[in-house]
Subunit: 107 residues, 2 copies
């Protein structure tokens, strides 16, 4: 997959509020598909699985099967790549300071 | 603007390859709208300005008028917010190590 196509997949995956919430749920620890479905009880299992498929296509989620369960892990590398593309390690400190300044001004 | 609506604006803005390339062009230094148009000579001025308007709506670009020129600055804070939402300062080092491991394995 070319880098530009992969970017398209990533930003398409992140364009959905439900998919962003799935990533929120996976941020701290992996979850089985069943556990995820119980978190999104307004959505049927099939819809949750379709969203997971889009996230997998973008490599934002990596799934591992263990016995009868499917464990979904968040892959942070595409998120890091977004940060590195427009901020990068050298500007990160300056942006941290700017963020703190904004936060101080808002409170 | 609620946080969720603002997220929608940001990811909608980033979903376009042209808008991502505009941010690439603004990453290191601000540019006038005229300079940006000359970088994207396959697009007419009106199209470039429409893309800039979407980026401004998402607060990814901040424009300042100086005399007859309009200077477009990239605002890195929404990009930092994406990183902080799913990686955050505590996990950043672990993700750096993971990224280096991936890069070593690929070369």
């Amino acid at each position: 997959m070319s880098s530009s196509n992969q970017d398209d997949e990533i930003f398409k995956a992140l364009s959905s509020p439900v998919r962003r919430r799935i990533l929120d749920a996976l941020k701290d620890h992996p979850q089985t598909t069943k556990q995820l479905c119980s978190l999104f009880d307004g959505l049927d299992r099939c819809t949750v699985m379709q969203h997971l498929k889009v996230l997998e296509g973008a490599e934002l989620v990596i799934a591992r099967r263990e016995g009868r369960e499917r464990w979904n892990h968040m892959n942070p590398l595409p998120i890091k790549a977004i940060h590195d593309r427009w901020i990068g390690p050298y500007a990160a400190r300056a942006v941290d300071l700017l963020d703190r300044l904004r936060s101080d001004l808002e409170t």
